[in-house]
Symmetry: D2
Subunit: 265 residues, 4 copies
């Protein structure tokens, strides 16, 4: 699938402040990025570093005053898709070391608390079938309500309040997966079906794949139903939203506006 | 310094359960591990994987019923120590990609909330001098009270309640460091001065070191004052205690007892 | 029903400390208290005040060192019992002013967050029938696990973790009732069926009763299933456990032990 | 002091919903309310009930669609003011039963956690002098930042984040007072010095007054410094903001706007 991505956002900084940006589509074997164009306001310093799990890049800036970011690119997505219920869980003792960190509790995903719930609700399913059951449970029990959550909202809040946005859906799915001893990470992404158009977020779970060196592969899952693995363009991954915000400010900042457009060509 | 380490703990599992163990001293250039001996109860499966940042190893077991772990080793520690206040902060845009993750909020260290506090309390210090000031502030304002915290206690709780144990001291220090844009991680370790003797935890911060390839090095800091960089034997590191528990159970488990002895030879 | 109550507990105070005690069965029209006997260690000061909603009494002491409390009484309970599903909800504009406070969020019962859940799960029931449905849902979805919760555990934790003790069951029921616009309060009590024997806690909800001056009456509900309205002897009521602990210390205290026995005669 | 109060706010309800309103200045011996005028949109039901501690009234409405509230009144305030540091603490065993509830933890004021902090920071002061010290500490350590907090923000958050609005200042003061065994309640009010003009909130603490029947009186304290006891017109009181919101909706509601003007005549 070929997608045209255009994104821009702006913020202001009252004093010289370090800010971390991550908004560019990542160059990956399964997603080819063509003609990427990034325009940033002038800054005192600007540096790129590889992002988490070597997926995409982060941009450090140190700046003051108004700051504008604009980005455009075309992405060709050709992702191998496996039917989720057909995939087995990887036994923990067979997991590669890099996947293990995605079993642990993180800022917005205190997963261990959900162990009794997943056992009671999903105890008769395993592996990919359990992930599919969790995804369907979330789709059925949560309402997508823009404005119902904020930067402090975590999976416990969303599970109790039964509402949220894409980031909250992903946090609940990640928590329930980890509580099932299935590694799960957070994926910031672009996708054409997001309504209203915005930066999007989905989850990714690590399930068995006998054809790989590691014994497993990461599978994209979107409990909101707005995106499918075929039309997701990854920006970056992390344990949860704390790791892959498009804007992380190490000091006070005022967010002004953002605009995202993702169109299938 | 030469240290003799002996540790044992036991727990029971009502049904076959996956458990992750991390209790062995890590083999590192600055700490040589001699005659390590690990004895585990019989298990259905047992596998070792490299632990976070390739420091030490994690052991996966799948077992049922009573389980005993015992470990002994001798450790020769020869760590280069730099006087903390002399170290500069590394500018964010100069940080290696691997250090950046240690700036983010984690399960027990929601650091961003502390930005106004660190600015107000420590705003006139920078880099290593700020870390020293934070360490001294914690030592002065928190009381070491065994039993005052539990597995759900995070840095916000400890900051408010002004008490905790080693793990809580480390979480507060890590949070205040990250809120100062200084990468900080959690270090599970052995150390001879811990009273009462137990597994110990300290923090590690990433500060400038012009002599290294990365431009910076990790520096150990113990706000409890019980350990010094010279006598700390690292087990493993992570974002906070969620990543490097000696026992992480993916299902119900009953902890029975532990015993730790660390003696200088 | 006639019940013989015996209770004792002890604690110690390192320095002169104000402590509030509430453990005596309340004298009420529907529960007659016979031969009550309270024995307290010597204290610097001791005073009784009426407790919340004029149900029972609280005892203030100021003491230091070891402190023992022992209490015995016989209680004759003759409570009018209405079948819960037959009771209507009282329209909010018909509620007496005293009942309104029991609709609000309290320390352990942040009820407003549960509004979408109660609407989705119990939206087709009203009044007493909804309370019965909530009680049955809790009984089915939570496990009674002594030791699984602590003094900081609130209804959100218990709802997520799906386990707790009597106090947690009451907090969840109270939260879901309030989220249904039904006033609900916490009742500390004695009851013979509690296993293991201990102080008990249940919930009480305010539902329509055309025969009363207020238009409504309080109805006891125990989601743990261990007590019935016929065999509950109230100690006191409050918004949640923060209001009616048998021991509230305004300074450090060390709880030593307690023993409770309630036997039907 | 004579004050002219004008307030209006509006909200909308997608379906018939019960809503509790509390915005009228309370008639009290120390504040005379002249020419009060309340205008409400049409509603299915409307009823008034006495509010907490018999201070002011609450209005229940059941309505649907757009709803507008407007209110005006003149208030003559003649409040006896005592210099805070001159007031003694009332010994707990001398407190009237009604004051005791204001020592307990509430939704936004989990006061017990602050006991070690108040002991360390304010241990050398007592009674009114301690309250003055707490007020000054808050004024010095918190920043008044409109928009920095929300409906879920509690005293722990504000204490950690060192910022908030009037409601947060009151919650921190109430928590630190209760942790000092001084009863404290939340006061919704009007006051002319509030910038930007809005509904205001302050705290009230119960301190010794030998001239009263109860042995004590409630004293107003505003840690924001925007109001003084002389120019505060009380709307109502409660344990914290959960009890005295101007708008509490028992179902989804959309707040649209509010306007408040308080002018000294």
């Amino acid at each position: 699938m070929s997608l045209l991505i255009e994104a821009s956002f702006s913020f202001s900084l009252d004093q010289p402040t370090d800010v971390l940006l991550q908004f560019e589509a990542a160059s990956l074997p399964e997603q080819k990025i063509i003609n990427p164009k990034t325009t940033l306001s002038a800054s005192e310093h600007c540096a790129r570093v590889p992002a988490q799990d070597d997926i995409g890049e982060r941009i450090w800036i140190r700046a003051e005053g108004d700051f504008d970011v604009s980005y455009s690119a075309r992405a060709e997505v050709q992702r191998m898709i496996a039917p989720l219920p057909s995939l087995e869980m990887l036994a923990p003792h067979d997991m590669p070391g890099e996947a293990v960190q995605y079993l642990f509790d993180s800022r917005y995903c205190p997963a261990d608390q959900f162990q009794p719930f997943v056992e009671a609700e999903f105890g008769d399913t395993q592996g990919g079938a359990r992930i599919a059951a969790i995804r369907d449970w979330i789709a059925q029990n949560l309402s997508y309500v823009p404005g119902s959550s904020g930067p402090d909202t975590g999976a416990v809040d969303s599970f109790v309040q039964r509402q949220g946005i894409c980031r909250d859906y992903a946090h609940v799915l990640i928590s329930l997966a980890r509580a099932s001893t299935i590694p799960a990470r957070y994926v910031a992404c672009y996708s054409p079906g997001v309504t209203p158009p915005d930066f999007h977020a989905v989850a990714e779970v690590f399930l068995e794949d006998p054809n790989t060196r590691d014994g497993g592969t990461w599978q994209l899952v979107d409990a909101t139903g707005m995106a499918t693995p075929e039309d997701i363009v990854k920006i970056g991954v992390g344990r949860d939203a704390a790791d892959v915000s498009f804007l992380t400010s190490f000091g006070p900042s005022n967010f002004r506006s953002s605009r995202v457009s993702v169109v299938q060509e």
